[in-house]
Symmetry: C2
Subunit: 436 residues, 2 copies
């Protein structure tokens, strides 16, 4: 037989079971947290009509997209979860209640140049709150509290949610007559952490921004201090541009309310350099950093946008949302040994029968499952040594050997496979659950 | 602006939130049940190299596949979860423990002709047990116990798991010199429920099967009685073919052990007409029917195969597994009103603040979430009437209005939105949880 090499495409994550268990645990924590905050689940198709998916797209995105024909249809794979959301809300507008709070966790596709830690198929975990015509600013303050709760839930403490407002930046550029360049300038500023101040100045010069204007930009993004001090300094810069002032007011309100939502100042701060490259954000923007691992970049980002679905509907649908790129995040956490995939089995208990009649071992397994214990019975006819080797290799936390003696005496030993310790108890699911 | 119509492709399921909640509940029950039995999670890519994915495929499958170029790569979307499993086990053989028990729940893609209830993107929910070189027959008996537990968990009682063994059928055909036609004959027999006996005879005649042989086939598949009676009648047919006799022995053992695994005879039976069209099954085969809704066809099917991954490796990897086509199953259950998507919100509680300072409402929400209650705070500045309308429309089970009075008196009313009844209690998450 001609055999094909069993390979997985580069840029596609495929995990071993122990890693997959850990990945799923993280994914489930994200899902449960989103649900705790009342976000509704959504699951849109991976394939959409290319016309629908690319209604807005352009530039880099369009080059990366997986697009193909099937029959007469021009199809594409979704490259994010925001465009499908826009389509969904426009399509189902009459059937939804606003503010529409939805989460979606799913795979998206981008045919990027393959490199370490860059994925062509990856999970995004998104939430968005969409208003019908309007959406109060208080929603912008709830978002950081969700990020805060989530990262705590994921086991992190030392992280910072950075908050800014695009109106401040846009107003600044208007005030120095650089409005037309603002998208480009924002992209450059956004890189200051990565490339440094001098490189930013170089890039701004290439854009033909005058020295005087560059000085203003730099002195602006170099404003330091606590969140409140930064806001005060912004107010005292003497800029009277209306957008700028509106941005400061929004930022001030958001910061006050973020505290109200229980996020401590140690976990969030105003950062005036945060701009988010994407040009559809129009107000509050967020990025989240693990302080000890700045090299990960932002692990949870998003912001406020004026209009979600203008390419599909004339309804005004302002919103605010965030996204976590889980596949890359997981890869990095794993690579840096921040997380450890030490669980190789999904079973809590392995029952090893050393008896002809399997009735009792099978009954015990069924009883354990009923009270929520993941339980496996070693069914194959092997020597005891081989059975124990299986438990060892899979690192199943507890094993229970059941033979004639155990059944007769109604006593079994629950062996903790990590410590090697055995505890004797009754042959009863409830008693066993107490031990494990 | 030129707007694009926000449409979803035909053959792709996209649910409203209430339906999505129900769909996810079913999906989660399937996942949890698989985990209870110790199956490890897997999540392979949706896109694979076409060469890998089509190593075995042919005929109908190959025509339906989504296949496309990206750069120099010839790619395809997975059309089931079995081929990716075969690739995975062959690729990671050295890193897995056998028997390898894995589940995978994910979307697969088939470009079928679009018609009602037929999906081009649909979820499969698979489990498989893969042996290294050998896999004891007892595993074939555990599978029905998993189906049984799962369908009970999904709320069904009146269902039948039908069991057969392909060796019996193959042996029968050998004994009447129709071995070369066996795949074709199996396909025809498999349709007897759908097309009836006469049509089956007609189709067999077209295959040039002689009348005498047809009579043997028909009298075989018309064997009636209880599971044990059928097996006895098979033994007494006087067929001495070795494969046939081996099949009877396997079936007998499986039936005895299925009972041992706690599946009552009211939920399983031997059915000699079950063959499963696919030609890679080599032993036990399963189909599952909801007795009141036979029109759904089999809702959970599978069987034993000799060798999972022969196209990728020379290792012998026998296995047994089942699959649920969840998307179509859900569609049918919904269409026949067997399930009802009556939950429109994921929140258990909506807190409605009618107070300037949101501190107390937000604190209560955080406390409720901490003890596992999905809670939403109505944040937008609307009239009370609009806030209540939101709760009504989303059918959030409980609402709590918090104003100055409630905060001062430390007493709130928890309103059951279905009954309209209000219960007064303390402004405390624990007390509220007791009520809901």
């Amino acid at each position: 037989m001609n055999r094909v090499e069993p390979r997985t495409l580069s840029g596609f994550m495929e995990l071993l079971p122990n890693e997959q268990i850990l990945f799923n645990q993280m994914k489930e924590k994200i899902q449960k947290t989103y649900e705790r905050f009342g976000f509704l689940p959504l699951d849109t198709p991976v394939i959409e009509s290319a016309e629908v998916l690319l209604a807005k797209a352009g530039g880099e995105t369009e080059n990366q997209i997986y697009r193909f024909q099937k029959g007469d249809n021009d199809l594409a794979l979704r490259f994010d979860l925001t465009v499908p959301l826009a389509k969904y809300v426009a399509k189902n507008y009459g059937n939804l209640s606003f503010p529409f709070r939805r989460y979606q966790i799913g795979k998206v596709y981008r045919g990027e140049r393959a490199q370490k830690g860059r994925y062509r198929e990856f999970y995004q975990c998104d939430i968005d709150i969409i208003g019908d015509g309007e959406l109060d600013l208080i929603n912008d303050a709830e978002i950081p509290s969700i990020i805060y709760t989530l990262f705590k839930e994921l086991g992190f403490n030392d992280f910072t949610i950075k908050i800014n407002n695009r109106k401040i930046l846009n107003g600044l550029f208007e005030s120095i007559n650089q409005k037309d360049n603002s998208t480009e300038i924002l992209r450059i500023i956004d890189k200051i952490e990565k490339i440094g101040k001098d490189a930013v100045i170089e890039e701004l010069k290439k854009l033909n921004v005058k020295d005087e204007q560059i000085n203003k930009i730099i002195s602006f993004i170099e404003i330091t201090g606590s969140s409140d001090e930064k806001i005060e300094k912004l107010e005292n810069l003497g800029i009277t541009n209306e957008t700028y002032l509106k941005g400061i007011n929004e930022l001030k309100t958001v910061v006050q309310n973020v505290r109200l939502f229980g996020v401590p100042d140690s976990n969030f701060m105003v950062d005036l350099t945060i701009a988010r490259g994407l040009d559809y954000y129009t107000g509050t923007v967020y990025e989240t950093f693990l302080n000890k691992y700045r090299e990960l970049g932002s692990v949870c980002s998003g912001g406020r946008y004026e209009n979600l679905a203008e390419y599909y509907t004339d309804k005004s649908l302002p919103g605010v949302g965030i996204s976590i790129g889980l596949t890359r995040f997981f890869y990095k956490l794993n690579e840096l040994n921040i997380i450890k995939a030490d669980r190789k089995s999904i079973s809590d208990v392995l029952i090893i029968p050393v008896v002809e009649d399997l009735k009792e071992p099978i009954k015990l397994a069924a009883d354990l499952r009923k009270i929520g214990v993941n339980t496996e019975v070693y069914l194959n006819d092997k020597k005891l040594k081989a059975k124990l080797k299986y438990a060892d290799k899979l690192q199943i936390p507890y094993t229970i050997i059941i033979g004639e003696d155990e059944i007769k005496s109604n006593k079994i030993k629950v062996k903790n496979m990590e410590t090697g310790e055995s505890i004797e108890t009754e042959l009863s699911a409830e008693k066993i659950k107490e031990i494990i």
